[in-house]
Amino acid sequence: MTNRGSGWLRFVLPVAIACIIATGSIVVSCSSPSDGDPTDAADTNLVVEDALVLGTIVTLRVHAARDMDVLESQVRGIIDEMEELGCRLSLYCESSETRRVNQAAGDTVEISEEFGRLLGYGLEVAERSGGVFDPTVGPLVEIWGFYSGDHRVPSEAEIEGAMDLVDWSRVDLDGESLSFDPGMRLDLEALMKGYVADFALERFEELGVSGALIIAGPSSIGALGTAPGGRPWRIGLEHPRNTGSIYGALDLHDGEHVSTSGDYQRYFIDDEGIRRSHIINARTGRPADSGIMAVTVVSDSSLGADGVSTAAMPMSPEDAIAFIDEWGDGGLEGLVVTTDGRILYTDRMRERVEMVDGGL
Protein backbone atom coordinates (compact mmCIF):
# COMPACT_ATOMS: atom_id res chain seq x y z
CA MET A 1 0.00 0.00 0.00
CA THR A 2 1.33 3.43 -0.97
CA ASN A 3 1.66 5.89 1.85
CA ARG A 4 0.49 9.37 0.64
CA GLY A 5 0.51 10.93 4.05
CA SER A 6 -2.13 10.46 6.67
CA GLY A 7 -4.55 12.26 9.00
CA TRP A 8 -5.13 15.98 8.78
CA LEU A 9 -2.09 16.62 6.60
CA ARG A 10 -3.56 14.63 3.73
CA PHE A 11 -6.56 16.98 3.51
CA VAL A 12 -5.03 20.24 4.64
CA LEU A 13 -1.94 20.23 2.41
CA PRO A 14 -3.69 20.25 -0.99
CA VAL A 15 -6.30 22.73 0.21
CA ALA A 16 -3.59 25.00 1.58
CA ILE A 17 -1.68 24.88 -1.69
CA ALA A 18 -4.82 25.73 -3.65
CA CYS A 19 -5.66 28.55 -1.25
CA ILE A 20 -2.18 30.06 -1.61
CA ILE A 21 -2.48 29.99 -5.42
CA ALA A 22 -5.98 31.45 -5.33
CA THR A 23 -5.15 34.16 -2.80
CA GLY A 24 -2.12 35.20 -4.82
CA SER A 25 -4.27 35.50 -7.95
CA ILE A 26 -6.89 37.59 -6.19
CA VAL A 27 -4.34 39.96 -4.69
CA VAL A 28 -2.69 40.45 -8.06
CA SER A 29 -6.01 40.98 -9.83
CA CYS A 30 -7.18 43.52 -7.29
CA SER A 31 -4.28 45.91 -7.68
CA SER A 32 -5.79 49.06 -9.16
CA PRO A 33 -4.98 52.68 -9.86
CA SER A 34 -5.98 53.48 -6.32
CA ASP A 35 -2.94 51.52 -5.12
CA GLY A 36 0.49 53.04 -4.91
CA ASP A 37 2.76 54.73 -2.45
CA PRO A 38 0.38 56.19 0.13
CA THR A 39 2.97 58.68 1.32
CA ASP A 40 3.27 60.20 -2.13
CA ALA A 41 -0.49 60.23 -2.59
CA ALA A 42 -1.00 62.04 0.69
CA ASP A 43 1.50 64.74 -0.26
CA THR A 44 -0.35 65.92 -3.33
CA ASN A 45 -3.77 67.35 -4.07
CA LEU A 46 -5.67 66.09 -7.10
CA VAL A 47 -7.88 68.32 -9.24
CA VAL A 48 -10.20 66.75 -11.80
CA GLU A 49 -11.82 69.31 -14.06
CA ASP A 50 -14.10 68.96 -17.08
CA ALA A 51 -14.45 71.79 -19.55
CA LEU A 52 -15.81 72.51 -22.99
CA VAL A 53 -12.91 73.25 -25.32
CA LEU A 54 -13.14 73.22 -29.13
CA GLY A 55 -16.70 71.95 -28.90
CA THR A 56 -15.62 68.82 -27.10
CA ILE A 57 -15.17 67.80 -23.49
CA VAL A 58 -11.65 68.10 -22.16
CA THR A 59 -10.89 66.44 -18.84
CA LEU A 60 -7.81 67.35 -16.84
CA ARG A 61 -6.56 65.24 -13.93
CA VAL A 62 -3.72 67.15 -12.29
CA HIS A 63 -1.98 66.58 -8.98
CA ALA A 64 0.71 68.57 -7.23
CA ALA A 65 2.09 69.26 -3.78
CA ARG A 66 0.45 72.63 -3.39
CA ASP A 67 -2.61 74.25 -1.94
CA MET A 68 -5.86 73.02 -3.48
CA ASP A 69 -7.09 76.53 -4.29
CA VAL A 70 -3.84 77.36 -6.06
CA LEU A 71 -3.92 74.15 -8.08
CA GLU A 72 -7.58 74.64 -9.05
CA SER A 73 -6.82 78.17 -10.17
CA GLN A 74 -3.85 76.98 -12.25
CA VAL A 75 -5.94 74.25 -13.88
CA ARG A 76 -8.70 76.70 -14.78
CA GLY A 77 -6.14 79.16 -16.14
CA ILE A 78 -4.73 76.52 -18.45
CA ILE A 79 -8.23 75.54 -19.60
CA ASP A 80 -8.70 79.18 -20.60
CA GLU A 81 -5.39 79.11 -22.47
CA MET A 82 -6.43 75.89 -24.26
CA GLU A 83 -9.66 77.55 -25.31
CA GLU A 84 -7.78 80.59 -26.61
CA LEU A 85 -5.33 78.44 -28.54
CA GLY A 86 -8.12 76.32 -30.00
CA CYS A 87 -10.06 79.40 -31.02
CA ARG A 88 -7.03 80.81 -32.80
CA LEU A 89 -6.80 77.67 -34.94
CA SER A 90 -10.07 75.73 -35.12
CA LEU A 91 -12.61 75.94 -37.94
CA TYR A 92 -15.30 76.04 -35.29
CA CYS A 93 -14.25 79.50 -34.14
CA GLU A 94 -15.25 82.37 -36.40
CA SER A 95 -12.10 84.38 -35.78
CA SER A 96 -9.69 81.46 -36.32
CA GLU A 97 -6.70 81.47 -38.59
CA THR A 98 -8.04 78.43 -40.46
CA ARG A 99 -11.17 80.37 -41.41
CA ARG A 100 -9.10 83.37 -42.40
CA VAL A 101 -6.82 81.43 -44.75
CA ASN A 102 -9.78 79.50 -46.22
CA GLN A 103 -11.52 82.77 -47.03
CA ALA A 104 -8.32 83.92 -48.76
CA ALA A 105 -7.98 80.78 -50.89
CA GLY A 106 -6.26 81.72 -54.13
CA ASP A 107 -4.15 84.42 -52.52
CA THR A 108 -0.83 84.18 -50.72
CA VAL A 109 -1.31 84.89 -47.04
CA GLU A 110 0.92 85.26 -44.02
CA ILE A 111 0.35 82.75 -41.28
CA SER A 112 1.49 82.40 -37.69
CA GLU A 113 4.35 80.14 -36.75
CA GLU A 114 2.01 77.85 -34.76
CA PHE A 115 -0.43 77.51 -37.68
CA GLY A 116 2.48 76.73 -40.01
CA ARG A 117 3.76 74.07 -37.62
CA LEU A 118 0.34 72.41 -37.37
CA LEU A 119 -0.28 72.53 -41.13
CA GLY A 120 3.26 71.33 -41.83
CA TYR A 121 2.64 68.26 -39.70
CA GLY A 122 -0.66 67.67 -41.51
CA LEU A 123 1.08 67.80 -44.87
CA GLU A 124 3.73 65.36 -43.63
CA VAL A 125 1.02 62.88 -42.55
CA ALA A 126 -0.70 63.35 -45.92
CA GLU A 127 2.46 62.57 -47.85
CA ARG A 128 3.42 59.56 -45.75
CA SER A 129 -0.11 58.13 -45.81
CA GLY A 130 -0.24 58.32 -49.59
CA GLY A 131 -2.95 60.96 -49.39
CA VAL A 132 -5.65 59.00 -47.54
CA PHE A 133 -5.25 61.66 -44.86
CA ASP A 134 -5.40 65.15 -46.33
CA PRO A 135 -5.57 68.51 -44.56
CA THR A 136 -7.51 69.89 -47.55
CA VAL A 137 -10.35 67.41 -46.97
CA GLY A 138 -12.80 70.22 -46.06
CA PRO A 139 -15.00 70.04 -49.22
CA LEU A 140 -15.55 66.30 -48.70
CA VAL A 141 -16.39 66.69 -45.01
CA GLU A 142 -18.93 69.30 -46.03
CA ILE A 143 -20.81 67.25 -48.63
CA TRP A 144 -21.12 64.28 -46.24
CA GLY A 145 -22.73 66.67 -43.74
CA PHE A 146 -20.22 66.28 -40.92
CA TYR A 147 -19.90 70.04 -40.40
CA SER A 148 -23.60 70.77 -40.13
CA GLY A 149 -24.68 67.48 -38.58
CA ASP A 150 -27.13 67.09 -41.47
CA HIS A 151 -25.61 63.81 -42.61
CA ARG A 152 -26.34 62.47 -46.09
CA VAL A 153 -24.80 60.37 -48.85
CA PRO A 154 -23.76 62.72 -51.66
CA SER A 155 -24.11 61.89 -55.33
CA GLU A 156 -21.19 60.64 -57.41
CA ALA A 157 -21.04 64.02 -59.15
CA GLU A 158 -20.83 65.83 -55.83
CA ILE A 159 -18.03 63.54 -54.65
CA GLU A 160 -16.10 64.01 -57.89
CA GLY A 161 -16.58 67.78 -57.70
CA ALA A 162 -15.33 67.90 -54.13
CA MET A 163 -12.40 65.61 -54.94
CA ASP A 164 -11.18 68.19 -57.48
CA LEU A 165 -10.67 70.55 -54.54
CA VAL A 166 -8.87 68.06 -52.28
CA ASP A 167 -5.16 67.70 -52.89
CA TRP A 168 -2.52 68.33 -50.24
CA SER A 169 0.22 68.61 -52.88
CA ARG A 170 -1.36 71.84 -54.17
CA VAL A 171 -0.75 73.55 -50.82
CA ASP A 172 2.31 75.77 -50.95
CA LEU A 173 3.63 76.28 -47.44
CA ASP A 174 6.83 78.26 -47.23
CA GLY A 175 7.68 79.29 -43.69
CA GLU A 176 5.08 81.84 -42.74
CA SER A 177 3.68 82.18 -46.23
CA LEU A 178 0.80 80.01 -47.48
CA SER A 179 -1.19 79.66 -50.68
CA PHE A 180 -3.56 77.12 -52.21
CA ASP A 181 -6.07 77.05 -55.06
CA PRO A 182 -9.41 78.88 -54.94
CA GLY A 183 -12.21 76.67 -53.65
CA MET A 184 -9.88 74.45 -51.63
CA ARG A 185 -10.47 74.43 -47.90
CA LEU A 186 -8.17 73.42 -45.06
CA ASP A 187 -9.48 71.27 -42.22
CA LEU A 188 -7.00 70.54 -39.42
CA GLU A 189 -9.60 69.41 -36.89
CA ALA A 190 -8.25 65.85 -36.79
CA LEU A 191 -5.03 67.25 -35.34
CA MET A 192 -6.47 70.02 -33.20
CA LYS A 193 -7.28 68.12 -30.00
CA GLY A 194 -3.82 66.60 -29.90
CA TYR A 195 -2.16 69.95 -30.54
CA VAL A 196 -4.08 71.59 -27.72
CA ALA A 197 -3.41 68.66 -25.35
CA ASP A 198 0.33 68.92 -26.04
CA PHE A 199 0.20 72.62 -25.28
CA ALA A 200 -1.57 71.98 -21.96
CA LEU A 201 0.97 69.36 -20.90
CA GLU A 202 3.82 71.75 -21.67
CA ARG A 203 2.17 74.38 -19.50
CA PHE A 204 1.66 71.95 -16.61
CA GLU A 205 5.29 70.89 -16.90
CA GLU A 206 6.32 74.54 -16.59
CA LEU A 207 4.17 74.77 -13.47
CA GLY A 208 6.03 71.82 -11.96
CA VAL A 209 3.05 69.63 -11.14
CA SER A 210 3.66 66.03 -10.06
CA GLY A 211 1.45 64.61 -12.76
CA ALA A 212 -1.23 65.46 -15.29
CA LEU A 213 -3.46 63.51 -17.61
CA ILE A 214 -5.04 65.55 -20.38
CA ILE A 215 -8.00 63.87 -22.05
CA ALA A 216 -9.13 65.79 -25.12
CA GLY A 217 -12.43 64.32 -26.21
CA PRO A 218 -12.72 60.73 -25.11
CA SER A 219 -10.08 59.55 -27.55
CA SER A 220 -6.86 61.54 -27.14
CA ILE A 221 -4.79 61.33 -23.96
CA GLY A 222 -1.45 62.81 -22.93
CA ALA A 223 0.43 61.94 -19.74
CA LEU A 224 2.87 63.96 -17.69
CA GLY A 225 4.69 62.57 -14.67
CA THR A 226 2.86 59.91 -12.71
CA ALA A 227 -0.61 59.36 -11.34
CA PRO A 228 -1.16 60.04 -7.62
CA GLY A 229 0.83 57.48 -5.65
CA GLY A 230 3.69 57.44 -8.12
CA ARG A 231 2.25 54.74 -10.38
CA PRO A 232 1.87 55.05 -14.17
CA TRP A 233 -1.43 56.36 -15.51
CA ARG A 234 -3.73 53.43 -16.18
CA ILE A 235 -5.84 53.49 -19.35
CA GLY A 236 -8.66 51.09 -20.21
CA LEU A 237 -9.39 50.27 -23.85
CA GLU A 238 -13.10 50.07 -24.58
CA HIS A 239 -14.66 47.70 -27.09
CA PRO A 240 -15.52 49.74 -30.22
CA ARG A 241 -19.04 48.32 -30.42
CA ASN A 242 -19.84 47.70 -26.76
CA THR A 243 -19.78 50.62 -24.35
CA GLY A 244 -18.67 49.56 -20.90
CA SER A 245 -16.81 46.49 -22.10
CA ILE A 246 -13.08 46.91 -21.51
CA TYR A 247 -11.01 44.53 -23.59
CA GLY A 248 -7.54 45.72 -22.71
CA ALA A 249 -5.47 48.07 -20.59
CA LEU A 250 -2.14 49.80 -20.80
CA ASP A 251 0.03 52.02 -18.65
CA LEU A 252 1.06 55.47 -19.82
CA HIS A 253 4.35 56.82 -18.56
CA ASP A 254 5.71 60.36 -18.41
CA GLY A 255 5.65 61.97 -21.85
CA GLU A 256 3.58 59.25 -23.50
CA HIS A 257 0.38 59.88 -25.40
CA VAL A 258 -2.29 57.58 -26.75
CA SER A 259 -5.05 58.24 -29.22
CA THR A 260 -7.81 56.13 -30.72
CA SER A 261 -9.59 56.83 -33.99
CA GLY A 262 -12.67 54.79 -34.75
CA ASP A 263 -15.71 54.42 -36.95
CA TYR A 264 -17.96 54.63 -33.87
CA GLN A 265 -17.00 58.06 -32.55
CA ARG A 266 -18.89 60.20 -35.06
CA TYR A 267 -20.86 58.46 -37.75
CA PHE A 268 -24.27 58.00 -39.25
CA ILE A 269 -26.15 55.03 -40.63
CA ASP A 270 -27.39 55.67 -44.17
CA ASP A 271 -30.66 54.51 -45.77
CA GLU A 272 -29.06 51.21 -46.78
CA GLY A 273 -27.93 50.53 -43.22
CA ILE A 274 -24.26 51.29 -43.95
CA ARG A 275 -22.20 52.89 -41.19
CA ARG A 276 -20.56 56.10 -42.44
CA SER A 277 -17.61 57.22 -40.33
CA HIS A 278 -16.63 60.86 -40.02
CA ILE A 279 -13.09 59.92 -41.05
CA ILE A 280 -12.98 60.48 -44.80
CA ASN A 281 -10.57 58.66 -47.08
CA ALA A 282 -9.36 61.56 -49.20
CA ARG A 283 -8.27 59.17 -51.96
CA THR A 284 -11.80 57.84 -52.50
CA GLY A 285 -13.87 60.75 -51.23
CA ARG A 286 -15.80 58.35 -49.00
CA PRO A 287 -15.84 57.53 -45.31
CA ALA A 288 -13.14 55.11 -44.18
CA ASP A 289 -14.38 51.58 -44.80
CA SER A 290 -11.49 49.16 -45.02
CA GLY A 291 -12.32 46.66 -42.32
CA ILE A 292 -11.10 48.67 -39.31
CA MET A 293 -13.26 49.59 -36.32
CA ALA A 294 -10.53 51.37 -34.35
CA VAL A 295 -6.86 52.30 -34.46
CA THR A 296 -4.96 53.04 -31.24
CA VAL A 297 -1.51 54.63 -31.38
CA VAL A 298 1.01 55.44 -28.64
CA SER A 299 3.38 58.29 -29.44
CA ASP A 300 5.56 60.90 -27.77
CA SER A 301 2.98 63.60 -28.52
CA SER A 302 -0.80 63.77 -28.66
CA LEU A 303 -0.50 65.47 -32.03
CA GLY A 304 1.51 62.53 -33.34
CA ALA A 305 -0.86 59.94 -31.89
CA ASP A 306 -3.91 61.77 -33.29
CA GLY A 307 -2.44 62.24 -36.76
CA VAL A 308 -1.17 58.71 -37.23
CA SER A 309 -4.28 57.00 -35.81
CA THR A 310 -6.57 59.08 -38.04
CA ALA A 311 -4.45 58.50 -41.14
CA ALA A 312 -4.36 54.74 -40.51
CA MET A 313 -8.17 54.37 -40.31
CA PRO A 314 -8.84 54.25 -44.09
CA MET A 315 -6.03 51.73 -44.71
CA SER A 316 -6.32 47.97 -44.73
CA PRO A 317 -5.57 46.51 -41.27
CA GLU A 318 -2.20 45.17 -42.40
CA ASP A 319 -1.20 48.43 -44.09
CA ALA A 320 -2.29 50.37 -41.01
CA ILE A 321 0.00 48.34 -38.75
CA ALA A 322 2.91 48.76 -41.18
CA PHE A 323 2.22 52.52 -41.39
CA ILE A 324 2.32 52.86 -37.58
CA ASP A 325 5.36 50.62 -37.26
CA GLU A 326 7.33 52.57 -39.85
CA TRP A 327 6.44 56.06 -38.61
CA GLY A 328 9.36 58.17 -37.44
CA ASP A 329 12.84 56.92 -36.66
CA GLY A 330 11.95 54.12 -34.30
CA GLY A 331 8.36 53.54 -35.34
CA LEU A 332 5.32 53.98 -33.14
CA GLU A 333 3.33 51.49 -31.11
CA GLY A 334 -0.21 50.71 -32.12
CA LEU A 335 -3.02 48.25 -32.56
CA VAL A 336 -5.87 47.84 -34.99
CA VAL A 337 -9.28 46.37 -34.15
CA THR A 338 -10.85 44.94 -37.29
CA THR A 339 -14.54 44.76 -38.13
CA ASP A 340 -14.35 40.96 -38.00
CA GLY A 341 -13.13 41.08 -34.40
CA ARG A 342 -9.39 40.60 -34.73
CA ILE A 343 -6.67 42.68 -33.09
CA LEU A 344 -3.46 43.35 -34.97
CA TYR A 345 -0.48 44.80 -33.09
CA THR A 346 2.90 46.25 -33.67
CA ASP A 347 5.42 44.10 -31.82
CA ARG A 348 5.95 46.52 -28.92
CA MET A 349 2.24 47.21 -28.53
CA ARG A 350 1.56 43.47 -28.16
CA GLU A 351 3.88 43.43 -25.15
CA ARG A 352 2.35 46.59 -23.66
CA VAL A 353 -1.38 45.84 -23.78
CA GLU A 354 -2.86 43.58 -21.12
CA MET A 355 -6.01 41.79 -22.17
CA VAL A 356 -8.95 42.16 -19.82
CA ASP A 357 -11.63 39.49 -19.40
CA GLY A 358 -10.28 37.53 -22.34
CA GLY A 359 -9.95 40.48 -24.71
CA LEU A 360 -12.49 41.32 -27.43
Binding site: T2, N3, R4, G5, R10, F11, L13, P14, V15, I17, A18, C19, I21, A22, T23, S25, I26, S29, C30, S32, P33, S34, E49, D50, A51, L52, G55, T56, I57, R61, R76, I79, D80, G149, L213, I215, P218, S219, I221, W233, R234, I235, G236, L237, E238, N242, T243, G244, S245, I246, A249, V258, T260, G262, Y264, Q265, R266, T296, V356, D357
Partner: protein
Protein backbone atom coordinates in the same frame (compact mmCIF):
# COMPACT_ATOMS: atom_id res chain seq x y z
CA UNK B 1 9.47 14.90 -5.22
CA UNK B 2 6.97 12.35 -6.53
CA UNK B 3 3.65 14.21 -6.61
CA UNK B 4 1.74 11.03 -7.47
CA UNK B 5 2.88 9.61 -4.15
CA UNK B 6 1.96 12.80 -2.28
CA UNK B 7 -1.51 13.53 -3.82
CA UNK B 8 -4.26 11.05 -4.53
CA UNK B 9 -7.39 11.48 -6.64
CA UNK B 10 -9.41 13.07 -3.83
CA UNK B 11 -6.58 15.48 -3.04
CA UNK B 12 -6.63 16.69 -6.63
CA UNK B 13 -10.42 17.00 -6.57
CA UNK B 14 -10.19 19.06 -3.36
CA UNK B 15 -7.65 21.40 -4.96
CA UNK B 16 -9.78 21.78 -8.10
CA UNK B 17 -12.85 22.61 -6.00
CA UNK B 18 -10.97 25.23 -3.97
CA UNK B 19 -9.56 26.77 -7.14
CA UNK B 20 -13.02 26.81 -8.75
CA UNK B 21 -14.51 28.62 -5.77
CA UNK B 22 -11.56 31.02 -5.80
CA UNK B 23 -12.04 31.58 -9.52
CA UNK B 24 -15.68 32.51 -9.02
CA UNK B 25 -14.68 34.84 -6.19
CA UNK B 26 -11.98 36.40 -8.38
CA UNK B 27 -14.54 37.01 -11.13
CA UNK B 28 -16.96 38.63 -8.69
CA UNK B 29 -14.22 40.79 -7.18
CA UNK B 30 -12.94 41.62 -10.64
CA UNK B 31 -16.35 43.01 -11.50
CA UNK B 32 -16.16 45.13 -8.38
CA UNK B 33 -12.54 46.25 -8.34
CA UNK B 34 -12.38 46.13 -12.10
CA UNK B 35 -15.28 48.41 -12.81
CA UNK B 36 -18.60 47.90 -11.04
CA UNK B 37 -20.09 51.35 -10.57
CA UNK B 38 -21.29 52.43 -7.14
CA UNK B 39 -22.56 55.87 -8.07
CA UNK B 40 -23.99 57.83 -10.98
CA UNK B 41 -22.73 61.37 -11.23
CA UNK B 42 -24.36 64.06 -13.36
CA UNK B 43 -22.11 67.01 -14.18
CA UNK B 44 -23.14 70.29 -15.72
CA UNK B 45 -20.52 72.33 -17.57
CA UNK B 46 -20.63 75.99 -16.70
CA UNK B 47 -21.00 78.42 -19.62
CA UNK B 48 -18.04 80.49 -18.43
CA UNK B 49 -15.79 77.47 -17.81
CA UNK B 50 -15.55 74.87 -15.11
CA UNK B 51 -18.10 72.28 -14.11
CA UNK B 52 -20.47 71.41 -11.29
CA UNK B 53 -21.76 68.07 -10.01
CA UNK B 54 -25.52 68.64 -9.98
CA UNK B 55 -26.61 65.22 -8.79
CA UNK B 56 -25.24 61.94 -7.50
CA UNK B 57 -27.31 58.78 -7.42
CA UNK B 58 -26.10 55.76 -5.43
CA UNK B 59 -26.19 52.53 -7.42
CA UNK B 60 -27.90 50.15 -7.82
CA UNK B 61 -31.09 52.07 -8.54
CA UNK B 62 -34.08 51.87 -10.82
CA UNK B 63 -35.38 55.19 -12.06
CA UNK B 64 -35.81 57.50 -15.02
CA UNK B 65 -34.82 61.13 -15.02
CA UNK B 66 -35.05 64.19 -17.21
CA UNK B 67 -32.15 66.67 -17.17
CA UNK B 68 -32.76 70.14 -18.54
CA UNK B 69 -30.15 71.76 -20.75
CA UNK B 70 -29.75 74.65 -23.17
CA UNK B 71 -30.43 72.36 -26.16
CA UNK B 72 -33.63 71.01 -24.65
CA UNK B 73 -32.31 68.41 -22.25
CA UNK B 74 -31.94 64.66 -22.15
CA UNK B 75 -33.56 61.63 -20.56
CA UNK B 76 -31.77 58.78 -18.86
CA UNK B 77 -32.77 55.45 -17.43
CA UNK B 78 -31.01 53.70 -14.52
CA UNK B 79 -31.44 49.94 -14.27
CA UNK B 80 -29.39 48.48 -11.45
CA UNK B 81 -25.84 49.60 -12.15
CA UNK B 82 -26.46 50.30 -15.85
CA UNK B 83 -27.33 53.74 -17.18
CA UNK B 84 -28.69 54.64 -20.61
CA UNK B 85 -29.27 58.05 -22.13
CA UNK B 86 -32.27 57.04 -24.22
CA UNK B 87 -33.43 60.42 -25.49
CA UNK B 88 -31.85 63.77 -26.16
CA UNK B 89 -32.99 66.94 -27.85
CA UNK B 90 -29.50 67.72 -29.15
CA UNK B 91 -28.95 67.43 -32.92
CA UNK B 92 -26.30 64.73 -33.30
CA UNK B 93 -27.47 62.33 -30.54
CA UNK B 94 -23.92 61.24 -29.75
CA UNK B 95 -24.90 60.79 -26.10
CA UNK B 96 -27.71 58.41 -27.10
CA UNK B 97 -25.48 56.52 -29.51
CA UNK B 98 -22.94 55.99 -26.72
CA UNK B 99 -25.23 53.16 -25.57
CA UNK B 100 -25.39 51.56 -22.15
CA UNK B 101 -22.92 52.73 -19.50
CA UNK B 102 -21.88 49.73 -17.44
CA UNK B 103 -18.36 50.21 -16.15
CA UNK B 104 -16.99 52.74 -13.68
CA UNK B 105 -15.41 55.50 -15.71
CA UNK B 106 -17.93 55.20 -18.57
CA UNK B 107 -19.35 58.54 -19.66
CA UNK B 108 -22.07 59.78 -21.91
CA UNK B 109 -21.50 63.35 -22.99
CA UNK B 110 -23.99 65.78 -24.48
CA UNK B 111 -21.97 68.77 -25.57
CA UNK B 112 -24.90 70.99 -26.70
CA UNK B 113 -26.58 70.50 -23.32
CA UNK B 114 -23.29 70.75 -21.43
CA UNK B 115 -24.08 67.55 -19.51
CA UNK B 116 -21.82 64.65 -18.56
CA UNK B 117 -23.35 61.45 -17.18
CA UNK B 118 -20.64 59.39 -15.53
CA UNK B 119 -20.37 56.12 -13.62
CA UNK B 120 -18.14 56.23 -10.56
CA UNK B 121 -16.62 53.56 -8.34
CA UNK B 122 -14.86 53.67 -4.99
CA UNK B 123 -12.20 51.47 -6.51
CA UNK B 124 -11.14 53.26 -9.66
CA UNK B 125 -9.93 50.67 -12.15
CA UNK B 126 -8.61 53.13 -14.72
CA UNK B 127 -7.62 56.75 -14.84
CA UNK B 128 -9.48 56.97 -18.11
CA UNK B 129 -11.31 54.70 -20.49
CA UNK B 130 -10.20 55.30 -24.07
CA UNK B 131 -13.08 55.21 -26.53
Amino acid sequence: MDFRRLFGRWDVIAMVLVLAVAGATWYAMGMSAGGEATELRIIRLQPGGGSEVIETIPLPADLEEWIDGPSGGMALRVSGREVTVYHSECPQLICVETGHLKTAGDRSICVPNGIIVELISDEVPYDHILR
